[in-house]
Amino acid sequence: MNAIPKNLKYSKSHEWIRQDEDVITVGITDHAQCMLGELVYVELPEPESSLELGQECAVVESVKAAADVYCPISGEVVEINEAILENPQLVNDDPYGKGWLFRIRPFENDFKQLLNAEQYTKQVASEAH
């Protein structure tokens, strides 16, 4: 069973979101990295760019597949995790820690669309048909 920390929020498309004061951190879930397998390439959004909710904003690629990352909330990119560009393995090894993707300053604090850990756990289970 993949880890789904209780203190995070989640999107249906397998991103996790952590809120720290006025900035949120985005990554892909343990389940998502496990489905993809070892990552070989990561593409991140431009710092200072504006992203819309649901926009394709990053790419994570393994030998099996390339997957888009969808922006879980509208806002401005304030920081990207340059370490994973050099070493994509960090996303596999520590998806909720050193493998974060980018930080964003939301235009408004609207997290209604997001799932809590319990809801996301249910979604993962229902996908395993």
Binding site: M35, E56, V63, A65, A66, A67, P88
Partner: protein, 490 residues
């Protein structure tokens, strides 16, 4: 591993008999464009070159040597009679810059192929120029764009693509400047109609669909989908990758599609992949035909000529020098002529019969179909999800082990939405004995997995190289040979 031909090189060694004769014409290139030092080419004898490449070619896994059930690639036999006809002296030595009056034979074949493709697709116009499936897709989406723009309908900026689509579909849409919106698939393998309805709107330029889909099932709600898209002012693109399943049986034009490509290297049995250049003709309905890429062969009474921009003022333009891959067009034409309308129907019948027979055998042997309630089209998916969990083996392990049994691995981990999957397409050109043999091998591999999973983890054993480190290869890609350092690995 064998040596690279560069490693065989000895300075000053030449194969004189094969050298081009020096030209008497004087080079007129400007001096600054001429290279100063000699190119780094391997210097070997004629026999060394022959031996090197013959030995490499003997390591090929190919349709001529092995069963090749690569899903969605339609690796069918390339009939030798077709090669023979396409290699008639008059075709082989024909120069592409010959005048129309001296090219009537080739142009007649190309014209007839255009007509036959119109008939089997139910479309009004065909251009043979795209040189591969992806270029055909690009042409089709560019035509969709040109159509909307010609009407001043410029707000449409989105192409819908189901999540089961070939990766080239969203790529083609993006290349043509569109945003891509993904549509989910329902549990029965059909497009989720409600999600489609929610996604369609005034900014929908069109949808790209493969039918039968890459899930190996026929999209049953295609007419409903066509109605939804057309009502919103969008157009339907048909990805011809899986046309083999419905050849001569169902016409994409009748399903409501407006534009499509045909893979000659799949459906029309021309050599495929590394075995030869591709062909991706694009076909269009009446509304889109004016935008077809040029040139197209036009027939006036008994004379054939290439179209010009004057014939098609709205054309998206040229996609290739001359007219695509001439040798491939000839082969596809001969193949279509030899089959005739009835033969084409038999292609579809046997392609689907073979797939369904194999699916039924594997199901009986305990393999899990991804869509157990659905009949297969020309291909089907088995998922090794349970085996992965219980036996700790992956689809990759099974694929690698198949190589030891001299079978090319099926497509794996595609479509992405089915976990641990193998997408199997036997094609119509295989006998029942081959299908039975393949099923028995898979059953044997499953048995091996139960008894000794490590046997699978370390496969293959019988090939020139063992299990490759795909992750390292992708992360540290290095394809450059340098004279001083030599290759990195032995």
């Amino acid at each position: 591993m064998s040596q690279l031909i560069f490693e065989l090189s000895q300075h000053g060694r030449v194969a004189k008999a094969q050298q081009p004769r020096p030209s008497s014409q004087k080079l007129t290139l400007p001096a600054h464009l001429l290279r100063q030092d000699e190119p780094n080419l391997p210097e070997v004898s004629e026999l060394q070159a022959v031996r090197h490449y013959t030995n490499l070619s003997r390591r090929n896994f190919s349709i001529d040597t092995q069963f090749y059930p690569l899903g969605s690639c339609t690796m069918k036999y390339n009939p030798r009679g077709v090669h023979k006809l396409a290699m008639l002296e008059g075709f082989l030595h024909h120069h592409p810059l010959s005048l129309d009056m001296n090219s009537q034979g080739f142009m007649a074949c190309a014209y007839e192929l255009q007509e036959m493709l119109k008939t089997v697709t139910g479309m009004k116009g065909v251009s043979l120029t795209p040189m591969a499936g992806a270029q055909g897709e690009f042409a089709g989406v560019a035509m969709i764009r040109a159509y909307h723009e010609s009407r001043g309908d410029t707000a449409r900026d989105e192409i819908l693509v189901p999540d089961a689509a070939h990766g080239t579909n969203p790529a083609s849409a993006v290349q043509c400047g569109y945003k891509v919106r993904e549509i989910p698939t329902g549990p029965d393998g059909n497009v989720d109609i409600e999600a489609l309805r929610a996604a369609v709107g005034p900014n929908t330029a069109g949808i790209m669909l493969t039918n039968p889909s890459t899930l190996g099932v026929f999209e049953q709600k295609i007419q409903e989908i066509a109605a939804i898209i057309h009502k919103a002012g969008g157009l339907l693109y048909y990805d011809g990758a899986n046309l083999n399943a419905i050849l001569g049986k169902v016409r994409p034009g009748d399903m409501g599609f407006n534009v499509m490509h045909i893979n000659l290297h799949k459906t029309f049995a021309t050599p495929h992949g590394g075995g030869g250049p591709g062909g991706g003709p694009v076909a269009a309905c009446e509304r889109l035909a004016p935008f077809l890429p040029t040139p197209i062969v036009i027939k006036n009474e008994n004379h054939y000529r290439w179209s010009t921009e004057k014939d098609f003022p709205h054309t998206i333009g040229r996609l290739s020098a001359f007219m695509g891959n001439a040798g491939i067009i000839l082969r596809a034409y001969m193949y279509a002529r030899l089959l005739g309308p009835e033969g084409m129907q038999r292609v579809a019948e046997f392609a689907t019969l073979n797939a369904n027979y194999l699916l039924a055998r594997l199901k009986k042997a305990g393999f899990t179909p991804a869509y157990p309630t659905r009949r297969a089209s020309h291909e089907f998916i088995i998922t090794l999800k349970t085996e992965a969990k219980e036996l700790n083996i992956s689809a990759l392990d099974v694929a690698k082990r198949l190589l030891d049994y001299s079978v090319h691995a099926p497509t794996m981990y595609f479509p992405l939405l089915v976990p641990e999957c193998l997408l199997i397409e036997p094609t119509e050109t295989e006998t029942k004995e081959v299908l039975d043999h393949f099923a028995e091998i898979l059953i044997k591999i499953l048995q091996e997995a139960k008894e000794n999973p490590d046997l699978l983890h370390n496969a293959p054993y019988s090939l020139p190289v063992r299990r490759l480190d795909e992750v390292k290869a992708a992360r540290e890609l290095d394809l450059t040979f340098t004279k001083n350092t030599g290759p990195d690995t032995a």
